[in-house]
Subunit: 468 residues, 2 copies
């Protein structure tokens, strides 16, 4: 087969760009740093949304929608927040043909405007917790844009909640971290994320605790796949989100925020893609099984339609390719690029023998299967390959992570993967030194893998890596 | 029951604002003309999206996402288009702390940027038709904003398609009009829209034909609920969307665009709302049946939970209110405001007699029903009241529409509703005159109710009204 993509080993960033272009996932937009998400890419995002949205609703949050435009003055009310976001803002100065009296910023995130409305809606402890989420676009001006990973506009969900107590806020931020994000990323995306705590240096602008999920990409770098923040009372004080307590008296609420974005599509590509294209885990895949007519003749197309219908009836998300006027080889290359988990190739010769060929995207294997057994075989493959993709990514992560005991070794190890090093051997000074060499502490975890409550806990492990 | 809303007959616009505030559907945003869609309102939008999106996919269009920011120069390429939208643009002049070399506009609609990419993606006749849709926010600076109806930012879907021939483009614009929009609005929203053609004067900026769906609101005014446009080759020429034809030679494509927005929520409120609040048609309702614990005692809460589960198992979208620490009267008023189609009130006295009370939002009737029969009764009521809401709106429209033969009578009739008048008795001069008095030709229809191919056809009927 002719080479379709630049091989990963040759030039990983080029492979990434090639794959996105050739699988028709996205294009660069006309304004620097923006992107066009094409149907093949957007259908993956729709599946991510559906899976995430269901989990968010189970966690009790309700969807709402807040405005794109935020008065510039709102951003300034929380000191760290404005400092963090100012360099990335897009500013609207003219509306309806006139100069605006106060410029408005295009939301980079919505803590401020949602804080303003939480303050209006929360009156008594009975109104808490207030659990909101929105699916929206946000804008952060990017100097070094990279499609899906860092774009000036991206799509995301941002959750924002207010609670009566710090304990309740903490517990909810962690519930989202584990029950929504980790569950989705491990169980559906098949990406064995490490869940940990950001150092104070890497914390979200305005947060008191930032929790993160870090995935290892195919080149050994780290991608922050999602974050969940405790905001303490910082925004509650800045926007006066207060409530009358059951015990009497007026208290400030405790808030959280948490987000995941179209960046996850980049993580999916770089976790599971191979030199032939994308590999989409079956549970995520918009098209799980792709029935292809190799060439027409002797009832082939009719048989393919029957298989399509049978798979659909069995609950499989199925696509059909009967474009026999295009060469089969070209269509097969395209199906590999797009990463459909299973292809069912129906051609005259196999069909004459009562078979169709089941091709697994996971390992490229092809097996003739009696037509009557195809549905059962496909169901089994979808189940197996979901697990195999996850396990392969986990094995890769483990083989590209080393345990070291000092900063120099940790930094050296990030040339090919991650380093695990005692946080006490690094500390905030070592962290700053690593940053100077392009290496970051991706997160802190406890020795047992659980998520620390602060960076001052004893015996924490720091995970260092280079990142996107 | 105490008066909750300003009655419609007293002050319709005030009633509308009251309802939106008290049913907690939406708030005004901090930047003039923007809105915050609260969970009760957003859940309605999610149901609209789900129903519409399924129909759009059946019509063959695929979802994609194009950037929020459009270079100002793009807007200028289609002369009528820029003229139509210039007064409404929001302009970003600063990004990342610097003045931009070319200002970018926040999309008011996406014909231009999508045209640019269609030109890249379309090469041969095999690439056509290209059928795209996106769910997105758009911005049109509004001088007289009104929540849901005219807001500076709103949410919508915008479809954009390219075709090889004018006939194919026309047929697709009409397919969307009838099979997606009319089917949804009549069948799910229960709003008996009139489907017709806009006059040349009312056409979309850059279109050759604009088709519209007009609903009559509870005050007799018209609301444009959605539009579908043939764009001819205007955008194809401006953006060079061309293809090599099967017969050889290079041709410009023919394009369409079509959209519906959160404005439909305003239409829903003003079509079906009454003096007690919203009435949501059952097929649309996020919560179709609302099980309420009147007060606790003697297994009431357990019985309510069982009913909730039984309804859910029967496929009903069900909510449960067991907040017995809040007065039942207040909760019932709130349920009426939010417009849940059926309430099932479970209290100790009725339950002792083996009953629950089924309350229909459509007409306020309440009937004790044996607990074992509740599910069946609810299913029947949901079916009936979907139809009854539609029929009531249709009867209202018919009783508020008069047939007249001249412009003066038509304008007079728009004080209370719509006028149907021969288009030949008005013409473009009469249309301009009507506009001067705040009256517009909402659409042109044929005598048999079908949609005209041009405003020059003989024997067309013009429908005149005042509009939102």
């Amino acid at each position: 087969m002719a080479r379709v993509l630049t091989p990963r080993a040759e030039d990983f960033p080029r492979w990434y760009q090639d794959l996105i272009a050739k699988a028709q996932l996205a294009d660069n937009g006309p304004v620097r740093g923006t992107m066009v998400i094409r149907p093949a890419g957007y259908s993956i995002w729709e599946r991510m949304q559906a899976e995430m949205d269901a989990r968010i609703k189970i966690a009790g949050a309700e969807n709402a929608y807040f405005p794109l435009f935020i008065p510039e003055s709102y951003l300034k009310r929380e000191a760290q927040h404005v400092e963090g976001f100012s360099p990335e803002l897009a500013v609207v100065t003219h509306g309806g043909g006139k100069q605006l009296s106060e410029p408005v910023v295009v939301r980079p995130t919505s803590e401020t405007v949602i804080g303003e409305f939480m303050a209006k809606w929360v009156d008594s402890y009975r109104d808490l917790p207030l659990l909101l989420n929105q699916w929206a676009n946000v804008v952060r001006w990017e100097l070094r844009p990279r499609i899906f990973l860092r774009t000036s506009e991206f799509l995301w969900q941002e959750g924002h909640t207010a609670h009566a107590t710090e304990e309740d806020a903490r517990s909810y931020a962690r519930k989202i971290l584990h029950e929504v994000y980790e569950d989705f990323m491990v169980g559906v995306l098949g990406i064995p994320v490490v869940v940990g705590r950001k150092t104070n240096r890497e914390r979200f602008a305005g947060a008191t605790s930032t929790y993160t999920l870090e995935g290892m990409m195919g080149d050994g770098k780290a991608l922050q796949m999602g974050t969940s923040h405790e905001l303490g009372q910082n925004f509650a004080k800045a926007f006066d989100i207060s409530y009358s307590a059951a015990s009497g008296g007026v208290e400030h609420a405790w808030t959280t925020s948490w987000g995941t974005s179209t960046r996850m599509i980049g993580g999916l590509i770089m976790s599971h893609g191979d030199d032939n294209g994308l590999r989409v885990p079956p549970r995520l895949a918009p098209i799980q099984a792709y029935v292809m007519v190799v060439k027409d003749g002797d009832g082939v197309t009719a048989a393919a339609h029957k298989l399509r219908d049978a798979l659909r009836d069995a609950g499989v998300r199925v696509g059909l390719d009967d474009r026999v006027d295009t060469a089969f080889g070209r269509r097969a290359v395209d199906a590999e690029l797009k990463g459909y988990p299973v292809r069912i190739e129906v051609g005259p010769r196999d069909l004459a023998a009562g078979n169709a060929v089941v091709a697994r995207r996971y390992d490229g294997s092809k097996t003739p299967v009696p037509v009557a057994d195809v549905v059962g075989r496909v169901l089994a493959v979808l189940e197996e390959d979901q697990q195999r993709l996850h396990d392969e990514a986990l094995a890769f992560r483990e083989s590209h992570t080393v345990e070291v005991s000092n900063l120099a070794d940790a930094i050296a190890a990030t040339a090919t993967g991650w380093a695990r090093v005692p946080w006490s051997a690094i500390g905030v000074d070592g962290e700053a030194q690593a940053n100077g060499q392009g290496v970051t502490v991706r997160c802190l975890v406890r020795a047992d893998g659980s998520v620390p409550g602060s960076q001052e806990e004893p015996e924490l492990v720091a995970i260092l890596g280079r990142s996107y």
